[in-house]
Amino acid sequence: MKKKLLSAILCSAMAASVLTGCGGSSDDGGAASAPAEDSAPVAEEAAPAEETAAEEEAPAAAADGEEVTLTVLAGQSTTDAGIEDMIDEALAAKYPNITLEWECTGWDGEFHPKMQQYLQSGLPDIIIGKAQDVATYASQGVLGEIDSTYLDRGLDAARENVTFDGKTYGLVYNALYQGVYYNKAMFAENGWSVPTTQAELQAIVDDCNAKGIIPFASHMVDTWSIGNVTMQFMMNDVFNNTPDWGDKFRAGEVSFSEDEAAQTAYSYNKLIFDNTYPETFSTEQTDCDARMVLGEAAMKVSGSWSIQNFLDIDENFDFGIFPFPNQTGDSKLIFEPNIAIMTSAETEHQDAVNCVLDVLSGDKDLAVEILDFTKTASMLKDVAPTFPNPSQTDIDEYAAKGMIVDVTLGNNQLVWGGFQEENAADIAAYLQGDISFEDCLAASDARVSSSSVQ
């Protein structure tokens, strides 16, 4: 009897809670409609409760002080981790009603899986990735066009590779430079000058070996580093001469197995491997950079992300940068638009999103803070980082001579995920002696269908 009574009480409680839940929903809807009608002057009097609720979140209200929370997916490089706090602070100062709900992931790790997940369920309001991601996701029709008010605050060069069919889908914030970082003091001591040809580079390598200096610092344990330098080589030996090489590759006009320039680009990895730390496949980036700063190695094919390490290890380390010499002696320094802010085409808070774009593109103090932290170059007009960058004079020189090339050209044609990344694994296998050079090239050719997102 007691059990029956207890069961009856429990059932009643469950039924009551269900009914209360339904009732609550109705009441809430009614309660929410009143202030919404007050605050949103455009709301029609006869608007149903659902419509009124939607208007409560309407973009027009967001900039007027209404509390808005925007979701942000940030695919960050290791150097970027931490900029979210700076952005939060700057946003709170100008638009205290807007809160960002961050989801920070590694760009090379979870970012793309997350994006694929969100493509099914709806994108976050703001997506922070790299410039090359704009091509990937704009082609899916899910990105919103960025207003020219904010784009105009950036450099013209920032728009080129994030604009498709006349619409720009990304606000490029900063840029990295890639090339060969070299120890200036070591170069001066040994009488080496910056090489512009393969022969000159080989002479330095030979001299290094003769003197017991390791020519190249490298960390091939990170397969991405192999992929990165390979694209640098491809830019100067392949794309410099054939800017649409990737398209021709897909059209079957060129291939890795037959194109001498592409083969040369791949073979430079062997030059590095034969002249680097014997334990490069066990050396992590931080250790690699530390050994370069400590004078163990003369050069490192890398990008601006190494500067953070160089200066953290020794703030007085004097280094420069030059483009990895190609076969024709006309190599250009690689320039990579890095952080790119994208927005969802279907955000319900476009005004609030624009407020964030306003802060990011208009707050110069914030920009300097971020650039100094990430040790990167600015893509905004009239903004320059203030951190001491010994390689800046070299960059300025190459820029003045027009010897800088945007790697997005190559990255858009031969995508990272599924292609460059996989090719890098094959190159590593070749360097390890697991497969032949011909097999490595053939594997890249066989992957042609994965070379583009289109």
């Binding site: 694929q116 397969t223 496949f281 250790d287 599924g418 694994a425 094959d426 390890q432």
Partner: protein, 293 residues
């Protein structure tokens, strides 16, 4: 008539009890499995709306894919090595601890602690150990031992097996220990009376009585090793080259990073099928060897 009503009631009760689990299992396992099979016969890239039907071509391509075969070969070698090493050492440690040695609890705790650590952390720890810490010992002791096991395709499997066993031996040891402690002592006494020595008692009493624990450990270690992923991600990343790329890692790289969701799904369906097959064979084979005390 009354008996039938009671049976009906019991059946209803059983159904009610298993229903929540069934619902969760169906939503969490069965449906994704069916969806994976559905995607495996398409060329879906994981992003676009179109999911073009391609029949079984993904499955045909799998067998032509040298990288997939290599991933399987690595996974099989890793699984065999783990299954042997972990079972043998876990059993030996369990026997040693069951023999009443001093400090049994301390040893048990020390051996068990690594399995409380995430495999990702274990990967990082061993990467640092092999790359930085252990090579320093060469300098201290003036030796020339190659500790850079993760840096060479020929030694990477050895390095990973050591790391994986370091983590999991303590866990399986506890299962063997529990099995050992449930073996009735009168069986040992009877064997002693019959003149069996320690080795004979181990093989003729301990091992048969541990058969249920052996089944659990062998199946657990085998299926766990076949699914290895997190340890590799934080230690070798599947390298050098492709020398330590596991099947799961390849599925992830293909379906997610490589935007070949259909092809990746075909890989995962194959993996599930093989996992089930291996587990079924092992359970059937090992169950037949089990004895009741």
């Amino acid at each position: 008539m009354k008996k039938k009503t009671m049976q009906d009631k019991m059946n209803r009760q059983y159904i009610l009890l298993i229903l929540p689990g069934m619902v969760i299992f169906t939503i969490g396992v069965i449906l994704p499995l069916l969806l994976a099979f559905r995607y495996s016969v398409t060329s879906w890239d994981g992003m676009s709306v179109e999911k073009e039907f391609v029949g079984i071509s993904n499955y045909i391509n799998l067998w032509k894919d040298a990288n997939f075969r290599q991933a399987w070969w690595f996974t099989i070698k890793f699984t065999i090595a783990n299954t042997i090493v972990q079972n043998v050492f876990a059993l030996l440690f369990a026997v040693a601890l069951d023999s009443g040695i001093k400090g049994q609890k301390i040893y048990r705790t020390i051996l068990f602690i690594p399995c409380l650590v995430s495999a990702v952390i274990v990967g990082f720890v061993w990467l640092k150990l092999y790359s930085n810490v252990l090579p320093e010992l060469n300098e201290v002791f003036g030796t020339n031992i190659n500790f850079l096991l993760f840096g060479d395709g020929k030694t990477v499997l050895r390095g990973l097996v050591i790391a994986n066993n370091w983590q999991w031996i303590g866990y399986w040891m506890l299962i063997y220990l529990a099995g050992l402690q449930s073996v009735p002592s009168d069986l040992y006494e009877a064997a002693k009376v019959d003149g069996a020595n320690a080795v004979q008692r181990f093989f003729n009493v301990t091992i048969p009585m541990l058969a249920p624990a052996i089944t659990i450990c062998v199946v657990g270690i085998t299926t766990g090793s076949l699914k290895v992923y997190d340890l590799l991600v934080s230690s070798t990343g599947g390298g050098p080259g492709r020398s330590s790329t596991s099947v799961i890692q390849m599925i992830y790289a293909t379906a997610i990073s490589g935007r070949q969701y259909g092809y990746g799904s075909a890989m995962s369906v194959t993996l599930v099928f093989i996992l089930l097959l291996v587990a079924m064979i092992q359970v059937k084979g090992l169950k037949s060897k089990e004895v009741q005390s």
